[in-house]
């Protein structure tokens, strides 16, 4: 059990490619932290630096009280689960799990006890004598997890462990991993590109892009109060809608409107309006979650649009609608399915926006949220405190 601390950690590859840009992160003992982001964002590199499989260009990584920058992977007291399981094909399930303990000269009886315990937890009792080849994908991943837990390390590292499984199994394994963490309470760093996995598993979700931490917070925080347009667009499914426009003032109210010719406008609610006042007259990107859009024929003009239905995707309880605004922007709305009352393709409907769930960003793909606190230091800070 240990705290893991990254202090201005950088990774610059030969040829000057910056994979990780001086990130700082404190992972408290026993937490489940998920690094999430698109491919190439630096999340795997960060994990591999914690593991010791990749050299650190500058900065320090500590596990517990010890700076591990120059410590060999095997001496860092960590265990890692790989995306392709990385099981030894010539060893049985038992031998795979026992291998690390044998190398550490653990007494035989102790190895036996730990492997039996792990296999009981993971439901592998009947497969101990099998070779990995004779196991299904889910079972192989369990063996890989078992190999990590028998070591009883200070920290677990997971590198996209569920990506090779089919969708259904992924969901099952996800909750198994969560249950396992609640049972063992070992500090865990988990890397994934799947935001849903990140949200369901993490105590702390760290959203990364371009080698920087964009935001670190609880799943709820990154979903409800994204600090910039990237986080807002990355977290949540279907993704947030963005509408380019500009801010204007009408008396005490701050209005957002798409363009002068389009009458559609939205009155920004407090406290967002207070933050937006300073930017009146400037461009502003409105962010709207698909769930914040509803079909309301009777809604007032100030909070609604007239849109054309382009695609209808029934999902059972809910239906996703792809809507085209008069200016040609495509919006996604997720509305409850009501039998016999769903709009048809080509129909023009009036949709209302829930003002309490509107976000406003500065222009650009990484535009800052207008109501986000001004960062003292580059986006990283010491985010673990916010998660406590």
């Amino acid at each position: 059990m240990a705290q893991v601390t990254l202090d201005r950690v950088e990774k610059i590859y030969k040829g000057g490619v910056r994979a990780v840009n001086g990130i700082s992160l404190t992972i408290d003992d026993g937490r489940f932290v998920v690094l999430v982001g698109p491919s190439g964002c630096g999340k795997s590199t960060t994990l591999r630096m914690i593991a010791g499989l990749e050299e650190i260009s500058s900065g320090t990584i500590s596990i517990g009280d010890r700076v591990v920058n120059t410590v060999a992977p095997k001496d860092r007291d960590i265990a890692m689960v790989f995306q392709n399981y990385a099981l030894y094909p010539h060893m049985s399930v038992y031998e795979n799990m026992a291998f690390g303990l044998k190398l550490r000269k653990t007494p035989k009886a102790e190895i036996e006890r730990r492997v039996r315990d792990a296999s009981a937890i993971l439901g592998l009792d009947d497969y101990l004598e099998r070779k990995p080849k004779a196991l299904s994908g889910g079972q192989r991943q369990r063996v890989a997890v078992g190999r990590a837990i028998v070591r009883e390390p200070a920290c677990f590292l997971f590198d996209e462990p569920l990506s090779n499984l089919d969708a259904k199994l992924r969901v099952t394994m996800r909750s198994e991993l969560k249950a396992l963490h609640q049972r063992l309470k070992t500090t865990t760093v988990y890397v994934t590109h799947d935001q849903e996995e990140a949200m369901t598993l993490g105590d702390l979700v760290v959203v990364m892009a371009n080698g920087d931490i964009q935001q670190a917070g609880t799943p709820d925080e990154v979903f409800r109060t994204p600090v910039n347009r990237f986080v807002a667009g990355f977290v949540g499914m279907p993704p947030m809608n963005f509408l380019e426009g500009a801010l204007s003032r009408a008396g005490e109210q701050v209005l957002w409107r798409e363009s002068a010719s389009n009458p559609a406008q939205i009155v920004l609610p407090e406290p967002l309006a207070a933050h937006a006042k300073a930017r009146v007259g400037q461009p502003c990107v409105l962010g709207i979650r698909p769930g914040a859009i509803s079909i309301r024929p009777d809604a007032p003009d100030s909070l609604s649009f007239l849109v054309t239905v382009a695609v209808v995707e029934p999902l059972g309880e809910q239906t996703d609608l792809r809507l085209t605004t008069p200016s040609g922007v495509l919006l996604t709305a997720r509305v409850p399915s009501v039998h016999g009352h769903m709009p048809k393709v080509g129909e023009t409907v009036r949709v209302a926006i829930d003002p309490a769930r509107v976000h406003a960003f500065e222009p650009g793909p990484f535009g800052r949220a207008l109501d986000a606190p001004v960062p003292a230091e580059p986006a990283a800070g010491t985010p673990a405190e916010t998660a406590a």
Binding site: A51, G52, L53, A72, P73, K74, I78, A79, M80, F82, Q83, N84, A86, L87, Y88, P89, H90, F99, G100, L103, R104, K133, A134, R147, R151
Partner: protein, 293 residues
């Protein structure tokens, strides 16, 4: 596990006559291949006067009209009485040492070229590749010169050292390891606590077992059959291997063919035995060159 057996047995039942035809053809070919060996074995059991008297067995009063009592082990007795045993042991020693050392050196350097990033790796690989196209005959004279200067002429080391790291083998292992050993497996072993040497012995080598088996056999055979370099490197009579000893049995004016045949049988038997033992690995090593990751 039982499911793949079902289509196999079904095929066996349906493809009746095709299967029999195929088997008959194969059996005929096998017999044709075996005839020279049978002839060799019988010839080695015949005395001098019978050698040219009959193609296969000498005629006589015994069952099948064969003179069984005329067959003799005299050739073999004479062979070993003349110090042939020494040459046999020499060959076993040279071939097995070369095979084991060569496999270790080639797999280790192939592993380094496949999985480690180090300064000079590119040039090293190019050097290995260009050595493959050099015909071995070209190296005889400079090789002799080199051995002369470092004082290894007429030593066992002089015979074995030049062949323990063939470029072909290094490249073969590099390819096999690139294919069969995923990087993540090596990283997993490193995190599990393996030293680099332990990774090589307990993870890399087991994964390329078919290739190891095949290469052991190839290099054993190459040294066993090696005729030219022992004659060049070795001068002492007691260091000569079988291949040279057999050639020396042929006199200038007269050759004892029975003796020659017995020597040939002795030189083929261990190799045939080795091949039978390792044939499964040999074939899978040659065809796949690797195992599944």
């Amino acid at each position: 596990m039982s499911s793949p057996a079902v289509p196999a047995s079904a095929r066996r039942r349906t493809g009746g006559w095709k299967r029999w035809t195929l088997q008959a053809v194969l059996a005929t070919l096998a017999v044709i291949t075996l005839i020279p060996f049978a002839w060799l074995l019988i010839a080695s059991l015949k005395s001098g006067e019978d050698f040219f008297g009959a193609i296969f067995f000498p005629p006589g009063e015994g069952p099948l009209g064969i003179g069984w009592d005329r067959l003799t082990l005299d050739n073999y007795r004479k062979l070993f009485a003349e110090g042939f045993g020494r040459a046999f042991l020499n060959s076993v020693f040279y071939a097995s040492t070369t095979a084991v050392l060569g496999t270790l050196v080639c797999s280790a350097s192939g592993y380094a070229l496949a999985k480690f990033r180090f300064r000079g790796r590119g040039p090293a690989l190019i050097a290995v590749l260009s050595l493959i196209i050099l015909p071995p005959t070209l190296l005889i004279a400079p090789g002799y010169e080199l051995l002369y200067h470092i004082g290894l002429l007429d030593t066992v080391a002089g015979l074995i050292l030049p062949v323990v790291a063939p470029a072909f083998g290094v490249f073969l292992f590099r390819q096999a390891i690139t294919q069969a050993v995923p990087d993540q497996l090596i990283e997993a072993a490193r995190m599990d606590g393996c030293s680099e040497i332990e990774i090589y012995f307990s993870v890399v080598l087991p994964l390329i077992r078919p290739m190891v088996g095949a290469f052991l056999l190839i290099s054993f055979l190459a040294m066993w059959n090696n005729f030219i370099s022992p004659q060049i490197v070795l001068q002492s009579q007691d260091k000569q291997p079988l291949s040279v000893a057999i050639a020396q049995l042929r006199g200038i004016y007269r050759t004892d063919y029975g003796l020659l045949m017995a020597a040939t049988v002795v030189s083929i038997a261990p190799v045939a035995l080795l091949f039978l033992l390792l044939q499964k690995q040999f074939i899978s090593g040659l065809t796949s060159g690797a195992v599944k990751g």
